[in-house]
């Protein structure tokens, strides 16, 4: 592998390892004197724990130790935290009920942790757990979100009356009401944004070690952000000083947000490893993943859109109830507020917007960020109601969007919901998407389908997202407990090869390729001379991790900054070696040159001189090893339009996606193949939400009915067609790579694109307003046949 440039379709370096089964995941680790943990979980959605008797279990073969919530409480282990303080309408912070790592007296969802059994083998731990006797007093549970804020609803936490975590608002209500009063047309819409289970391919896993000699702890965990995990465990939960706790997230098989958070299991493992002085391992079974990985979405929304007679949007108001589940997960509070309501302008010039969000506790699994986090929910509301307005006003839905797009010369554009869009050019994206989708030919295709007894529909979704998360001062002012910069270190070795140490974490995104690619391009170093190192708090500088499509815009920018420092230092070395003035040195294609001469020093020679400084500037430190931290000045704003075409079989209700187009503006593209992978995966997740996936609970017992793949419908390859992709590029003006991020776009836009197509198809039989996600065959059939 030689030098590569930004923009090339470089094959992913990591895939050989992953595809040949040579990845190293937490469960692959072989630790000395290891023990295994099994977590006994609540079978009830809501119950008081009257008594736990562990005596029989403790005598079971192989048992090392059993801990219950009482032990954890007595040891004064801190509760798990929510790292984002959202202030309600009245300026009060959200309700923050305790979230013990193990339930002490009350269980609040099926799967809540009740006891931890540590034994010599995983089976022995489970055998013993079956012998634990728990005396539960089963209490009424509130499962359903729609009724959670009802005053008579069962209470999840005594210190969150009415199950209300916060009643929050954004925007100018009076101005919105005034605009509605003058509107020529008002469109109203009620939506459910269905709850999803993240389903990373690798289940969560952890292994903890305690070194009696040094007092140091090591936690191996399936984390998207090992430093954040260390910070939270150290500062808030376990009190182990940060420098005595090493967190390693080795190869991680997917996260989609669910591995950002700090969960009870790794917390308990770390704590218990210190108590028993032996290493402990745990890997979730798939059923535990279903029950305990933080779920996504789960909103009930009423929205209204005011338009003038020509279809120009005048105002938008949105009322949402968001489900937080039984406890606040690590960033739960931010998702339905700052990651949601701030996106309600979409790509449009909507002058005034008001959004009210009430977040509710229920006796269900905690809900937190899941691919897109708030932005898919916002896009679904905006893009559903815009299409509905177009249908009601008999204006073509693409045309109505076009009339409302922010013009390309209006950037930077201040929306009425706090964000300043940095760049974009929406109309050419729509043009390209319409062309790829043969939008003009839809009427003929609808007629042909009708002749076969089928219903065709086409759906448009123009999305915006705020990613490259995030400017620290901005998120700090909104309540975030952390800064959201990123770190990088470029560490040359004397022989000229290079390690990129990054605070971003790769769990499927392909950083080992793209990060190496940007450095190969920038420094002119062959790809196989570059190693990307991540995921170990003892190896890499403090970093904030991977989520919110931030790795390239923020992590990549930190790498570029560090590379600039390398070049600056290299210039000094090269100037010395060539006996030239530093100001006359230029760096091109991996070589320092004296302008106007043919004198040249390759970077590798400058690196060698820096490590073997026999002939070296007197005032310069040896070594070629530079650190950089990058704090973005704004979010980035990828945008795009997806067009989906479906054919519905009215006899069975089956929805067949016959065509799917996505045209995106991700700014500059480093590796088109990696971007395609992200877009494909994202679209499929969005299609999953629209047509297939649903975390369905029994409304009385709180059992997760779709708690396995027998009942939870994961999208499969044959559920989607080949996608047609296109790009428009407006480079991000405020980061050195001009990139915007592409990790979430597919999942953000696809639900609305698919559902708008389904509604368009169902409009032929008047059923367009009777369908919610997921539009399963049964639901589509029922919608068609409801009279």
């Amino acid at each position: 592998m030689g030098n590569v440039k930004i923009g090339e379709r470089v094959q992913r370096k990591e895939d050989r390892r992953f595809l040949t089964g040579s990845g190293r995941y937490v469960d692959d680790l072989q630790l000395a004197r290891v023990t295994y943990a099994y977590f006994l979980r609540s079978p009830h959605a809501h119950a008081k724990i009257r008594k736990i008797d562990t005596s029989k279990a403790a005598a079971s073969v192989g048992v090392v130790q059993i801990f219950t919530g009482k032990d954890v409480a007595e040891a004064k282990v801190g509760g798990l935290i929510c790292g984002w303080v959202v202030k309600d309408k009245h300026g009060n912070p959200h309700k923050a009920p305790a979230h013990p790592a193990m339930a002490a007296d009350t269980v609040r969802h099926v799967g809540d942790t009740v006891a931890m059994v540590i034994a010599a083998t995983a089976d022995q731990a489970r055998d013993a757990a079956e012998k634990i006797e728990v005396d539960y007093e089963v209490l009424p549970a509130q499962i359903n979100l729609a009724g959670a804020l009802d005053p008579k609803a069962p209470q999840v936490h005594a210190d969150a009356p009415g199950n209300l975590c916060y009643d929050w608002e954004l925007g100018d209500k009076a101005a919105v009401d005034a605009a509605f009063a003058k509107a020529a047309h008002v469109t109203k819409l009620d939506l459910v944004n269905n709850r999803l289970v993240p389903n990373a391919m690798e289940p969560r896993a952890a292994a903890a070690e305690y070194d009696r000699g040094t007092g140091n702890y090591t936690l191996y965990t399936t984390s998207q952000n090992p430093h954040v995990a260390r910070l939270v465990l150290s500062a808030f939960v376990l009190g182990i000083p940060e420098h005595k706790l090493r967190v390693i997230a080795p190869d991680v098989g997917g996260g989609f947000g669910s591995k950002i958070f700090i969960y009870p299991e790794e917390t308990m493992l770390t704590w218990a490893a210190g108590k028993i002085g032996r290493s402990i391992k745990w890997t979730a079974e798939r059923s535990e993943s279903f029950m305990t990985d933080a779920h996504g979405r789960d909103h009930v929304t009423h929205a209204e859109l005011a338009l003038d007679a020509k279809g120009k949007i005048l105002a938008f108001k949105v009322d949402t109830i968001a489900n937080l589940g039984a406890y606040l997960s690590t960033f739960a509070t931010a998702v339905p507020t700052y990651l949601y309501a701030t996106l309600l302008a979409g790509q449009y010039t909507t002058p005034v917007i008001y959004c009210n969000v009430r977040a509710a506790f229920t006796h269900t699994t905690p809900v937190d960020a899941y691919r897109g986090a708030g932005r898919p929910e916002a896009t679904y509301v905006v893009e559903s109601i815009v299409s509905k307005a177009a249908r009601e006003m008999k204006i073509d839905s693409a045309e109505l969007r076009r009339r409302n797009y922010i013009a390309k010369d209006a950037f930077p554009y201040q929306t009425p919901v706090a964000l300043t869009y940095d760049s974009g050019n929406y109309a050419p994206i729509l043009d390209q998407a319409m062309k790829l989708a043969d939008y003009a030919g839809i009427d003929a295709r609808k007629a042909a389908a009708k002749a076969k007894g089928k219903l065709r529909g086409i759906g448009v979704c123009s999305y915006i997202e705020a990613c490259g998360i995030a400017p620290s001062a901005v998120v700090g002012s909104l309540g975030a407990g952390v800064g959201l910069w990123e770190s990088a270190q470029l560490k040359f070795n004397p022989t000229g090869n290079l390690q990129i140490l990054t605070g971003s974490h790769s769990h499927g995104q392909g950083h080992e390729t793209t990060f190496a690619q940007i450095v190969s391009d920038k420094l002119g170093i062959p790809l196989d001379q570059i190693e990307v190192v991540h995921g170990d708090t003892d190896k890499v500088p403090f970093g904030m991790g991977t989520y919110g499509s931030r790795s390239l815009p923020v992590g990549g920018s930190a790498i570029m900054k560090a590379a600039d420092k390398i070049i600056a230092k290299g210039k000094k070395v090269a100037a010395h070696l060539m006996e030239a003035a530093e100001a006359d040195i230029v760096f091109e294609n991996g070589t320092f040159k004296v302008t106007g001469t043919d004198k040249a020093v390759p970077l590798g020679q400058a690196v060698f001189a820096a490590y073997v400084p026999h002939n070296y500037p007197a005032d310069l430190e040896p070594g070629m090893d530079e650190n950089a931290f990058y704090d973005p000045s704004n979010f980035t704003y990828p945008s795009g339009t997806q067009i989906c075409e479906v054919e519905v079989d009215p006899d069975t209700g089956v929805v067949d996606i016959v065509n799917f187009v996505a045209v995106d503006d991700f700014g500059n593209i480093v590796n088109p193949m990696v971007v395609e992978g992200q877009v494909h995966g994202g679209i499929v997740q969005g299609v999953g939400q629209a047509l297939l996936e649903n975390a369905a609970y029994d409304e009385k017992t709180g059992q997760l009915i779709s708690g396995s793949y027998m009942d939870y419908t994961m999208p499969r390859a044959d559920d989607v067609p080949s996608f047609k992709l296109g790009y428009e590029v407006t480079p991000c003006p405020h980061n050195p790579l001009g990139v915007k991020g592409c990790g979430e776009a597919g999942a953000i836009a696809a639900p609305a694109a698919v559902m708008n197509a389904v509604r368009d198809a169902l409009a032929a039989v008047g059923a367009q307003d009777r369908i919610e996600m997921p539009a399963t065959p049964q639901r589509v059939w029922a919608a068609i046949n409801a009279h």
Binding site: M714, T776, Q778
Partner: protein, 264 residues
């Protein structure tokens, strides 16, 4: 999983003896259902008797009287058999649409039939074609074999050795898969047999059942229209998050129509 003793006998007689001797013996074919239930601790056999070492249970025989498939024959083998495809194409096609490639290469006809999952495909073919289940002790007509959810006429320790299917004049199977599991949410097998038209439904109810009204209508004239107006009562059908009983009842008619049309 809990500990169990593992046996791999070489003959049906030894297998039968081993399973009868055990306090809680379980026969294992491909393990596609048995192993997950053991892993999830839903089953706790004392002894597992693996039928994989018994050559007599494998293979497909096609002659004038019909198709006989050894109990340990895998779905993939039935799907790929040119002889089956020629004699009863609907049967080969049914096997080709069971589960996924891994399941088809481990799962067996004997295991599927013995398990009698209400959403399994083979039971529809057995009942639809009027097949016979052969065991180490007797022969059982398909109509008498399936007894409702996960229940069969098999006695403790009785081993299915083969299933024989008479050749039909025409036959077809139409499956509406459960979106999640891809088992049959509704599957309808129709056949025009020597003994008359047969319509067998799987997935919709607690077990495979025949629709006599449709059979009678098809007996008068084989056409999709003949069954189009016949609805099974929704009352006794399965009702779950994927399909209400009313939707299932509706799908039975739609799938029956399509199966009749496909059979030609």
């Amino acid at each position: 999983m809990y500990d169990f003793a593992y046996h791999k006998p070489k003959s049906v007689a030894d297998a039968s003896a081993a399973v009868k001797k055990a306090s809680e013996g379980k026969l294992m074919a491909g393990g596609m259902t048995l192993i997950p239930t053991i892993k999830q601790r839903l089953a706790r056999p004392s002894d597992v008797v693996d039928l994989g070492g018994i050559g007599d249970l494998k293979g497909i025989k096609v002659d004038a009287s019909g198709v006989t498939i050894g109990a340990m024959t895998k779905h993939a083998e039935v799907a790929a058999s040119a002889d089956v495809a020629k004699a009863i194409p609907a049967l080969a096609k049914l096997a080709a649409n069971i589960g996924d490639a891994q399941v088809r290469n481990r799962g067996t006809i004997g295991g599927s039939v013995a398990n009698n999952d209400p959403a399994a495909d083979y039971p529809a073919a057995l009942v639809g074609l009027g097949a016979t289940v052969h065991t180490n002790e007797r022969k059982i007509a398909a109509d008498d074999f399936f007894k409702g959810m996960f229940e069969t006429a098999l006695k403790d320790g009785e081993i299915i050795t083969a299933v024989s299917f008479p050749v039909a004049k025409k036959a077809a199977y139409m499956k509406f898969p459960n979106p999640a599991s891809r088992y049959a949410m509704v599957g309808v097998f129709v056949a025009d047999t020597a003994g008359g038209a047969r319509v067998a439904v799987t997935g919709a109810g607690p077990g495979v059942f025949r629709v006599k009204d449709m059979e009678a209508a098809l007996g008068k004239g084989w056409s999709a229209d003949a069954v189009a107006g016949i609805k099974v009562p929704a009352g006794g059908l399965n009702n779950d998050i994927h399909a209400s009983r009313e939707y299932r009842a509706h799908l039975v008619t739609v799938m029956a129509k399509r199966a009749v049309a496909a059979a030609g």
